[in-house]
Symmetry: C2
Subunit: 704 residues, 2 copies
Amino acid sequence: MGRLAELFDPETVAVVGATDREGAVGRAILENLEDAFDGDVVPINPGRDEVLGHECYDDVSNAPPTDLAVIVVPPDAVIEALYDLGEAGTQNAVVITAGFSETGGEGAERERELRAAAEEYDLNVVGPNSLGIMSTPNGMNATFGPENALEGSISFMSQSGAFITAVLEWANEQGIGFQDVVSLGNKAVLDETDFVREWGDDPDTDVIIGYLEGIDDGDEFVRAAREVTDDTPIVLVKAGRTDAGAQAASSHTGAIAGSEQAYEAGLEQAGVIRAHSVQELFDYARALSGLPEPDRDGVAVVTNAGGPGVLTTDAVGDSTLEMADFADGTIDALREAMPDEANVYNPIDAIGDADANRFGEALDVALNDPNVGSAVVVSAPTAVLQYDRLAETIIEKREDHDTPVVACLMGGERARAAEEVLREFGIPNYFDPSRAVSGLDALATYRDVRRRTIDEPTTFDVDRERAREILARATERDDNRLGVESMDLLEAYGIPTPDGEIVDDPDRAQAVAGSIAGDVVMKIVSPDISHKSDIGGVKIGVADDDVYDAYENLVARARNYQPDATILGVQIQEQLDLEGATETIVGVNRDPQFGPLLLFGLGGIFVEILEDTSVRVAPIGENEARAMVDEIRAAPLLRGARGRDPADVEGVVETIQRLSQLVTDFPSILELDVNPLVAGPDGVQAIDLRLTVDTDDLETGGHQ
Amino acid sequence: MGRLAELFDPETVAVVGATDREGAVGRAILENLEDAFDGDVVPINPGRDEVLGHECYDDVSNAPPTDLAVIVVPPDAVIEALYDLGEAGTQNAVVITAGFSETGGEGAERERELRAAAEEYDLNVVGPNSLGIMSTPNGMNATFGPENALEGSISFMSQSGAFITAVLEWANEQGIGFQDVVSLGNKAVLDETDFVREWGDDPDTDVIIGYLEGIDDGDEFVRAAREVTDDTPIVLVKAGRTDAGAQAASSHTGAIAGSEQAYEAGLEQAGVIRAHSVQELFDYARALSGLPEPDRDGVAVVTNAGGPGVLTTDAVGDSTLEMADFADGTIDALREAMPDEANVYNPIDAIGDADANRFGEALDVALNDPNVGSAVVVSAPTAVLQYDRLAETIIEKREDHDTPVVACLMGGERARAAEEVLREFGIPNYFDPSRAVSGLDALATYRDVRRRTIDEPTTFDVDRERAREILARATERDDNRLGVESMDLLEAYGIPTPDGEIVDDPDRAQAVAGSIAGDVVMKIVSPDISHKSDIGGVKIGVADDDVYDAYENLVARARNYQPDATILGVQIQEQLDLEGATETIVGVNRDPQFGPLLLFGLGGIFVEILEDTSVRVAPIGENEARAMVDEIRAAPLLRGARGRDPADVEGVVETIQRLSQLVTDFPSILELDVNPLVAGPDGVQAIDLRLTVDTDDLETGGHQ
């Protein structure tokens, strides 16, 4: 994109609505800009000639050209100001003014007008209802809120202005610096996806962090973030995770929440690292902004105290990392360097009389070990350990080895002083061993994001035209709930189904059954009867001779159960040998933000009671389909646990992909359940199908 | 106990091994004692007349009587010093000296001598290998480590001296105070159970916290802690939770770890709140030491900012608490008190221009709501909000309502100043909304601990003598692995088993089968063949006519499989109708620290693959047995999910209790598995049994 660079690095900034009235937002912004901004500031206000010593212009059109305008006029005047700016050639605006979609009704209409104005002049608009933006390299604080941020390599966006205020005061105290900061406001024009793209291209941004309550276009965000996370880590707090939180978020921003399941899958597929608290957000960001990538999972722990060493080891056990298994040479070298009482196995306990030198020797040996990918230095304060010397030693050893090292120097004032020294060299110090390890864990997670290859969805050779016709027939019937009568849809997409047919008279039933070897299964077919088994609408093991009577009996039961039910006929299906086979479920739901969500699990209690499922945003490729199968807890059952024959997992993986293609081709499919998809040793078969379609628009999905 | 009171409140303290040599531990202790201790200090050292201005005695016997001795002499001299102290009438000693069991071999022998000396004179001994102890009311710092603690109501024990040093420096900075602090060292005499009892009786201790790597006598600890937690909360970090951590802990303290499963169950049954990090330990302790008990789970959130409000709501969603559903009157009152733009539903958003007064009004209304049991005040810093005023307002409202309130005043310097004010009134301020909520959650957890009633184990009318005989027979055979041949054991304890018998000739087999209605199940019975099905050692659905041949065939197969196997016979068992029944497993394992652990789960994949189990330390009462059934994820299956008939859950609950009684009566049962215990709609039946017994000692368990 690149175009947003000017938003953060303008030479001249207009403040539309600037004033010198005490307590006014228009004054606060001007004062904040005056504080450190190295460009020019141009106040615009028809009522004044001068504001805080700057020449003031009555109108944008009379003012000198500006690269960025910060708009603080009343809501009614915002749209006109944008048109004026567009005419004057200003490309970037931050709308501070509130009273848009967040107030509903009239405000929402005003926001549509704002969007129209932005489109007409191709303006980059932040907000409305924004706290403003900051960029530290040029000292620009175009917000009405907090003090200036320190300079750093973290770029930060937030859907909550207060979150920025709360965090910046604290971050300044902690010495945590930022590159750009954006209060997203209502995201009428620019949203999280735009800033992720912009910062992904910014060589001065090492980490992108954000507080979001919703993502407007999940699909687009995933695409952008996937690309960006190849080079730049993204850490997000997505608030509104829980039901209560989602309700609170929706009353805060007025946004439709979308499901947490969709966010979880979508953000994971996007390569985004999720933080669940403010503390985690910054714990991760601090590690990601200053440290190299760990090239393996083994962690070395160096300490002067057994207890903290054990705590750190527990934290490693809880993480995705593992305690490094030291090579023999390492053990020997540690024995050489450490006193007899020291523990030379990992965690290395250099014991209570260790000074900074001994820590340094132990760390050096550990970082030379081929099994060590990262290290934690954990210390309790003692009389012989100088924390400033320890900090210098850690910095030195880390640079010698290009391996990530984090610190957990515990204690009071001296710990804080050492922390400052470490920070300058990008080494975070954490109060708690578990947080130190979670910092390393974030590095490993991001390494895995960078290393993963996302395979393109396979395009299978399918009969799309036939599928279109089947869905069109439903539309003609104005029937939005389809069942087994649409099994052809699966066949059209190459998904195996048992031999059989839906028939609407008993003679035909008998004929079809006759053409199938062995007994058959018969099921009533009616869009009005969803729990067929419960009303006796399913018969299994029907011999050829009994098919005629069974047909009549099924229809009679259905009529009896619901006299006005539409009965499409009876399905005659080959009876499969299910011995040794496993029932699975593949489902699809459409999320308002992310589109089709694929769900996989084992049938029966596994999905319904144990909630043992995996979810992805479609479309997905083969690797992701396989990961869906592997990550359910009950996966060993499919792989052949407890003496079972392994099921045809590849068949399941292919079916998931074919369904991914189907629901991507036809956005009109709102919900779909293949339940069960039976997976036996020799293949898979889709036994039953239910789907809900949008009958308004087949190919595009009228709802979108 | 009470006897330990003198340990923490001595009038005279001897320092055995006191010296004025710079850098010596004996000097550090003396200096720490001199710092603020309001009693007398008596140095003992045969080489000096005076140490740091105190008259020095060459021997305990020549010194004035002392209430407590701190011993820092070399390891060889410790035992003699203890005898001298015992003779002189000193009852309490802290052994700082290291070189005991932690060094193995000779040191372990020395520790046995230490224990013997303590027993002879009934001495209270802390350590050896201890950092020392502190008590703030009398200013006693009898450690060689950290600065004095601030006075407070938290009593703190730690198995790691370094952990104390690391934490105290930080706690002093944070203004967190302590009552007593103990470095447990090797726990040769006094251990965690003693201090839990002592502090449970101490009116000045509001919360007991600890860092432990192991608990010596789990059973005893559970008993003590259960009693203490009626009045005083206990929060523990039990390090060595993970496999790697347990290994590190065992190399640190030399203790046998015991299983994490046992600690988890045992500590939960004891009413102990577990913290998983240093931060959690103090986050919980701060809430528990200053706030009243929440009388319901509804949480009110009051904020001036949407984003932090949503984050707090998510944290409540993650906790055991819930967002309070405000009564209509509350909504009305809030509408009255708040501006139009405010959100009067929970979380209450008093919006960005809220001052301390508006916060106060909102908090007052919320605390009056009958559905509110606790509240969180979350704020972002703004120009109009004075944090000092906000702190005072929170203190005032909290006192008016006697409801717990925690704060999350975000920001920098001003937040820290407000925090100090809040702290004085027992209100913790947390940096992060999620930590604030976890503080409240700890309060609710402790409330539930206090409210629970632990029912006494039911004593069922069993045939203990018969069970003893069955186990004795195994002992006679010197056979420590028993199987179905011991099903009588279950019968003796009133656990239903299918009709049947073990026979050792085919004629008898036929006779027994004839006396049983319907087909029978036949299984080879041999202690040497554990996977009977795998070798074809099980036949089901055997008709009476086929029993003779089946017998011979089973024996032949077993011989063929393992010619030298001991074959005890063939079990002839009634074939149960398993349609609609659920297979469950009840198992017992013996933990070195906690004794018999009961385990419950559903059969097959549920235990083996999904690890869906519940665990308790035996003996347990009815409530706990029922909780074991209810807390597995698959519990709905037993309760009649998906159209199944509910199983006889009460039968399962009773069986668990009867097994609890069995393994409590016979400590010689080391392992026991009833697998499966089939639970049908009309009752339960134990189908198969395996147990391992200690053949040395039946009634007491030779291993104990």
